[in-house]
């Protein structure tokens, strides 16, 4: 009986995940339609970036956290899309900075178009993420925007440190963990925080969701750095060991 219940719950959970995933994909498809217009010099690269396939980890976490806090996933969708669009923006600008040729098996935006177009498309996408936050009518906007900026600051700090570490001969483990907390942890933390805020969860819940997101982000980046070093799967999409070629200091090298 308990086994059956568990199987049923697991099947329910899988179905629910599929439903939430479809909700995110539908939302992104609507954004693509919104940006079908002119000038193509701007919206061409914007659409190309938005068409990027991905696991949708961050928006799913926003929706799941909202449901876990007793809210409706639908209400958290604009904030979930804001997080995914912001993530897309960071990939576009990061690829310019890293001189990356490819992203998930396609040409990076600045290779498909040119650096100026990619830079501008990234700027546009960053702006769009704030507009999406403002479309969420259920959540109180001011604390959301102010939290979002703390995330932006931490993320920019992490990116600046990552660049700085490349020209250093020594990076300590705490320095590495602090860098990835900004570069990857901050946005995942915000995704879960936004879900909790949308559900109007008590402050203690919001804090817990934020902390859980930060920890998950850290684990995620360590795994990413590991796969970057070790991947033999051509589907992984990034050139294998690409970050190492740039002498990035990843967790594995610190041990």
């Amino acid at each position: 009986m308990s086994t059956n219940a568990s199987v049923t719950n697991s099947a329910d959970a899988t179905a629910r995940m599929h439903a939430l995933h479809a909700m995110v994909e539908d939302g992104l498809a609507s954004l693509l339609k919104e940006h079908a217009g002119e000038p193509t010099e701007l919206y061409g690269p914007v659409r190309y970036a938005l068409e990027q396939r991905g696991k949708r980890l961050r928006p799913l976490l926003a929706l799941l956290t909202c449901e876990a806090c007793g809210g409706k996933a639908e209400d958290a969708l604009p904030a979930a899309l804001a997080v995914e669009v912001f993530h897309t923006f960071t990939l576009v600008h990061d690829d310019i900075m890293d001189r990356a040729e490819t992203r998930r098996g396609r040409a990076a935006v600045h290779r498909q178009y040119d650096e100026n177009k990619a830079l501008l498309a990234g700027d546009y996408l960053m702006g769009l993420s704030y507009d999406l936050l403002a479309r969420a009518e259920r959540a109180e906007l001011r604390p959301m925007i102010r939290s979002f900026h703390r995330m932006v600051a931490r993320l920019c700090e992490g990116q600046a440190l990552d660049e700085a570490f490349e020209s250093r001969t020594e990076v300590t483990k705490p320095e590495y963990l602090d860098m990835i907390a900004g570069k990857t942890g901050a946005l995942i933390a915000f995704a879960m925080e936004a879900g909790a805020r949308t559900a109007a969860a008590p402050d203690a819940f919001i804090d817990s969701a934020t902390t859980a997101g930060a920890q998950l982000g850290r684990a995620f980046q360590i795994q990413d750095d590991y796969l970057d070093l070790m991947a033999t799967d051509p589907n992984w999409g990034k050139p294998i060991g690409g970050d190492l070629v740039q002498a990035k200091w990843a967790y594995l090298l610190l041990h």
Copy 2:
């Protein structure tokens, strides 16, 4: 008697302008102090960009419009600073795109540091402008953020068109005017709209302020393109005819 009154009003107006200008400079000085921290790889270029001297035309217009609509200039200060910080962000990224060496007699941010640091500092400053909007407690935030994004879209479109025009052999006058309406008009229009919104002006006032800002922005850009072509004053700060060197299509060439 009427002459005296006029003189007094003029003196009052000048004193008020000085007071508002000082309010903007004090606000920007506070922002510099806020960003005195680490990592210097990020906040060094951010401070360097914020230290840029300027006429402060856009924030002054926000404050003046707020007062003209019966509001307190102090209440519009966060939005005024948001506009100035956003303007600073656009200069940092534009100078990367235009490969500009200097900006107002100093090295451009990407020449003083490097392109990656300037790109990241620009991203940070764009984010900061939204945080400043959210600091304005008197204005309703949601319509402000949504208007801001319409401005961002128009500005990115104008920038994309400006780039596209460089490789075209013919640009019509309406195309040129549409481009500068986005590139310069949209932000000045938002500055005045933000002032009117902060004063909780009726919708008709907000619309008038926005239209006036758009017209002023257009005039301002035409003058800028003219000065860019004709300037002999070394204090102007930009290399004389720099835009022409890049074969930009400015108003004068269209006549």
